[in-house]
Assembly symmetry: C2
């Protein structure tokens, strides 16, 4: 009747060792869809950006040497020999004593090495008076100063944020290799479970886990596929699991992992391939019956049916695996110190996680109030929580008014 429970930290290590999560490889997608994706290759370019010396102002290109000595009250006189617009390559070659009208972004003509702003000049027909001396390269963005040919611009594994997307556009890429998104099949089990939107007949409850876990999968960098609710039927569950393994990279089930007569999820999962179940019960609260299998290199996480237990175990053990397979660096959850409001007991011999709500007392001290109502099935327990506290397996309790470390679940500012 009793299974041997593996300590929580050993379970975590064992999962990483056995599953050995690695990215699935890269796929090419339009740059416009690449925001927040993970770069799948190092990006090197054979372009200098800008590809030519550009003016950064509206004014006149000239030789800096020609401007030496020019002052507000002592202008120097130059000869305007033409104008250069943006988007065209200038054929003009500029000689001593000459100036060329130029606009922001236009290429600098050969022979010129500075641009004087229009505000510091006065033009009379082809005669230009300049009222300021320039230094060499003033108001010029030189070829290759933004991006140098051959440089590694972005490294594989980078999350592509707005400026990175800009860099990739700058070198002319409209398609880019990104890491493939792992497909995660989500199955709910239980004869009492009904899909939201349907009528609730007596004795039934709505499916919570497939919805909350699917959202959590997206947050971890995976793409959930909803496999529906499987009633209490061994054959139906076996069919659904086989289908899930065929169409996904990771499988998550919830429910059917306790020790009751209808908890046959572990048995069926174990029959589907090698090595089969690698963890069968963890010394943790909540989440003790969690069962984890590896079927032909695909991880199958069988989580408890209680929504809070399922989602908390997802955060702790499943999400890091999905993140790694998605090619992401692990999210490091922020932690804060707070004062506990009530004494909390650990579950005997099990690492215990307790969800808490954070607030500030009248002295602006951060306090942590457990959201646990005694009902581990309660989804609201997690919805109300800002984070969780860990009580080590060998510690009996944490007293009220003790300082605790709260790992934050959300991005809420505290």
């Amino acid at each position: 009747m009793f299974r041997e429970l593996i300590p929580f930290d050993s379970a975590k290590k064992l999962i990483f060792d056995k599953i050995n999560p690695k990215p699935l490889g890269a796929e090419k997608i339009p740059l416009k869809e690449a925001h927040n994706r993970i770069l799948g290759e190092d990006v090197i370019t054979n372009l200098d950006i800008p590809p030519f010396h550009r003016s950064t102002v509206d004014g006149y290109a000239l030789k800096a040497e020609d401007s030496y000595g020019a002052e507000e009250n002592k202008p120097i006189d130059l000869n305007v020999i033409g104008e250069i617009s943006v988007g065209e390559y200038p054929k003009i070659h500029l000689k001593k004593g000459e100036a060329v009208e130029i606009v922001t972004g236009a290429p600098i003509p050969s022979g010129a090495n500075a641009v004087i702003m229009v505000e510091n000049t006065q033009k009379q027909k082809n005669r230009l008076l300049i009222y300021r001396a320039l230094t060499q390269d003033e108001n010029i963005m030189k070829k290759g100063t933004d991006i140098k040919k051959g440089e590694i611009l972005l490294k594989a594994g980078k999350i592509l944020e707005a400026p990175d997307i800009g860099v990739l556009a700058a070198i002319g890429l409209n398609f880019i290799k990104v890491m493939k998104i792992p497909i995660v099949a989500v199955i709910s089990t239980g004869a009492e479970i009904i899909e939201p939107g349907k009528n609730l007949s007596p004795g039934k409850i709505y499916d919570i886990n497939a919805y909350s876990l699917s959202a959590a999968v997206i947050n971890s960098g995976g793409k959930p596929i909803y496999m529906g609710v499987i009633p209490d039927d061994e054959a139906a569950l076996e069919t659904a699991l086989k289908q899930a393994l065929l169409s996904s990279d990771i499988v998550i089930t919830s429910g059917g992992v306790s020790v009751g007569p209808r908890d046959y999820t572990p048995k069926i999962v174990n029959s589907l391939g090698k090595p089969g179940v690698i963890i069968s019960g963890i010394a943790v609260k909540p989440g003790k019956p969690t069962t984890i299998a590896l079927i032909e290199n695909k991880p199958v996480f069988s989580l408890p049916g209680h929504p809070t237990s399922a989602l908390l175990i997802f955060y702790l053990l499943v999400s890091p695996i999905i993140q790694r397979i998605a090619g992401r660096k692990l999210i490091s959850h922020k932690a804060v110190k707070a004062i506990l409001t009530t004494r909390l007991f650990s579950a005997k011999g099990r690492k215990t996680f307790v969800t808490v709500k954070l607030s500030r007392d009248k002295n602006q001290i951060l306090i942590a109030d457990p959201t646990k109502t005694g009902a581990s099935g309660a989804i609201t327990t997690l919805a109300k929580a800002d984070g969780f506290i860990e009580i080590p397996a060998n510690q009996q309790f944490i007293d009220s008014n003790e300082e605790v470390i709260v790992t934050l679940l959300t991005n809420k500012k505290v």
Copy 2:
């Protein structure tokens, strides 16, 4: 030639006052697609969840009173009168001295008020020996303990995270009202601009802004539509702007806002409707030529062509407006203290923003190194930056080794 610049902080206030950004209203979408969307209405339910008293363990339902005095060595004897499975409503009424076999999640039969775990019992045919006394309601999750009928579960404006999605599923919703996503038209202008993926002819550069700004729009809670690159042509720009105003809630252009002969974006924008241009130049560096208009209640942001200027002004002035129209609470950017590596000068009379890269020196002190290369057109300036420093308009410089406050641009851990 010179425009009167409005101080940065006044510009920021004026934009909020004039645009008065408000959510666009709600739309109904499938719950499966609601992750990270903004809830569009308060959610109240007329269901108790769970809708019935449920067993939280596998075992036997009984009257707690019948168990009083039971001990490891002194079991009490009960009569098993049936069994209850999940998903069905029990017709059994339990009387004194009776027990009913029950599994996790199944409804508690009337007359019972506790459940003993199977581990604490021994069954011989219809006779059940119980080895432990129970308290009332032990191992029962009572009707309505997760969610109470009539309770406000989630408030309009909440970002829907995984546990919230679970709560909405729990009360049977498969569709949910969320705030509409603002559509943001993004237009690049300039005769020298070519779309990535095309051939780069002499004098041309690839479009950066439409790509980086579109990604930043997504990050702010908007949906970008890419209107393409408009060459230097007044009629084409007018057509594109009219089209953009028809098909979006917010318009962003980049380029064409300086004082050169072809900088006619402000003039055209101003002609499209009332009140027209409300800000024409801001005392800020970078981003001085930024022009902001309101055309029949739709904001039009005309940003400079320099990619770094455009994106920084987007972060500072455009993103907060999009977030508000998306129904979001404003992202509060984290700020850290760091030691500046080099003296930084402000632009005369303009609030100056300087992007910096953060690192730790050998004493683990956080240092801020400007990424500015002198080329404000450089997109890599922003891609390399972790955050930015503000120099007030009335301050001449910040000295090296001074402590500065760095507002973080990304979620990078420092």
